[in-house]
Symmetry: C2
């Protein structure tokens, strides 16, 4: 099996209320990636498009707009996990020899149909993810004594990180009091515990080992783990203090990459709601079970340096791609103002609604 | 790289006007595959869903309805080429070691949004594929003297083949006169030159080499070629007597499988319109350029034994999967009434609208 590297990346500024189409946004990030890195576009032999947008033949449209005629091209969707699913697909296409250079571009508009859980509703469950986030939070508070302040600190940290990211939706810090006093959405979840839907795009280029050899500082994908448990919240997790899919995905990714949680220097964690970052610390083995709340302000692992989903906004199909882009840029030492020092091994953790599915990707130089 | 085999398959009866949902249809074919073949469902570690249906998180829904918790699961769409894109993805996931047993299920309802080329329309091109089929037909007739009767013979042949397929939408033969006298849709294309939208599902199971060793008669995927040229008809092919994407995809598939066109015993060709089968003969190297019209009634290669898209109907996202299912069943000697004798090497040829993208898959025992 061939090794696969992430060679280039470009993420658009996440916004609210653009008039640009999902295709305009996808091309904007892709063109930036191609131009800034002098990529020979005719060597791109796969274009995978990650989006929940309803448009048909969208990957072919993006390819044509970019002037690329790839061998492989299709659209991939799986709610918030779409982007990481597309990255896993590109990895598999290159590793198996079907292509050598894959552009993965994730894009979403603010009114994405991926923001609503319509199938859950028909099963008597919730339309909006905030409801299950509240249930996770209550369960974790009850079992482990996790506090609303600890959750709020996740928001404070990630909003602070986002101030160093010029492409984040939110550019200003929030303090603990602001989070605690923000409007209750579904108790104990408050407005500033929630990420915001927005529009945006992120593109990354995956290349084969042979092509990676020509790079200054190649960042390799060392192991991918994925796990789907269910489609609906009702069946996602028997224990509501943990995300079973993420635990299993992490186990696979750590095994495949021969890596331990203690070796991770930097991580992008799925923090669509603050409680999810706390549970992720535990599911990934960064913190002991029940101690996630106290782990928020640790200094050992740089977590969500771009600002996470809370700080950057959450353009559903773009999120997973942007997470991989961030870790690649950090490990390559090209993360500008927010560069984390001495990071060699990174991790991406992404979830679909209610943790019904999860992806964990370990990357390293 | 690990070899990949198609171990099992099940295709539903293609119909018009069912009240079943896209999920009901997907599960029907999948459950049949699992039950008939005694598949341990908990060993299925990827579920890829091919469909143009607008439903969100559809692959997770299908997985949950089947009681499967796969590692990898997402939806894939690329118009008529969706199913073959999903098969290529499953192949890559297994070949690269990310999974060992992948269920690919393609499903469509008759009112699929994949039946309309809405993006082409905004570029001043056609809403319905029949228009570009007419342009291909006129170009081929003008340059090579191909006749309307030769095209009609494709319809006669494939409808005849479909009478041996109990799951085909059309169960009766049509004669040359009927085709020639059928209503003109977009001259020279007549009603019986066209396939019909319908609903249906097809499921196949791809397995790793290790798992294939336990099978009686494993059918291997020997080479996959894919090529995207464009999204819209206007840019699909500079020469309208050939489908450039298919020629390139075939070249890749033949190279990778170390196979020549003359070694193919049996083929599923994309015959959404009769002219496309004639052009496919030439693009695949079965007939010389310009001689496709005279190739229709040759006896050397069994072409579209299940009845093709013309005889079976065209549930867009299911078609590519059903094509692979047919070739696998034939090569395994399990094609029931329509079994072709002595077939060892088979080919699947599938297109998206106007040949804007193509997949060619070579399979063998």
């Amino acid at each position: 099996m061939r090794k696969v590297a992430v060679s280039s990346w470009a993420t658009s500024t996440f916004t609210k209320g653009t008039t640009k189409s999902v295709f305009d946004l996808a091309c904007e990030a892709s063109v930036q990636l191609i131009r800034d890195n002098g990529i020979p576009a005719n060597e791109i032999d796969a274009v995978l498009f990650s989006s929940c947008a309803a448009d048909q033949y969208s990957s072919a449209i993006v390819s044509e707009m970019l002037g690329i005629s790839p061998r492989i091209s299709h659209r991939i969707d799986n709610l918030c996990n779409s982007g990481t699913n597309a990255v896993a697909s590109a990895f598999a296409f290159i590793a198996s020899g079907l292509c050598n250079m894959a552009l993965v571009v994730g894009t979403e508009k603010i009114d994405s149909p991926g923001n609503k859980l319509l199938w859950d509703v028909t099963r008597g469950s919730f339309m909006f993810p905030v409801h299950w986030a509240a249930i996770f939070a209550k369960a974790h508070m009850k079992k482990y004594g996790t506090t609303e302040e600890e959750m709020a600190m996740v928001s404070v940290k990630n909003h602070k990180n986002a101030t160093k990211n010029p492409r984040a939706l939110f550019g200003k810090e929030v303090d603990l009091e602001e989070v605690m006093k923000s409007k209750s959405i579904a108790s104990p979840i408050k407005l500033l515990d929630c990420s915001a839907p927005c529009e945006g795009a992120s593109a990354i280029l995956l290349v084969s080992e042979e092509k990676a050899r020509t790079l200054d500082n190649p960042v390799f994908i060392k192991g991918i783990g994925q796990q789907t448990i269910s489609a609906s919240f009702a069946k996602a997790s028997p224990d509501l203090t943990t995300v079973e899919s993420a635990r299993k995905a992490a186990q696979i990714a750590f095994e495949r990459s021969h890596t331990k949680p203690s070796q991770i220097d930097i991580a992008e964690l799925h923090d669509a709601f603050t409680i999810l970052e706390i549970i992720a610390y535990e599911d990934l083995g960064f913190a002991k079970r029940g101690e996630g709340g106290k782990f928020v302000n640790q200094q050992q692992i740089a977590i969500n340096p771009r600002g996470g989903i809370l700080g950057c906004g959450h353009p559903v199909g773009a999120t997973g791609v942007a997470q991989v882009a961030e870790i690649a840029s950090q490990l390559a030492g090209k993360a500008e103002k927010r560069q984390v020092k001495n990071c060699k091994t990174g991790l991406v953790h992404n979830l679909a609604a209610a943790g019904s599915s999860a992806s964990v990707i370990v990357m390293g130089v």
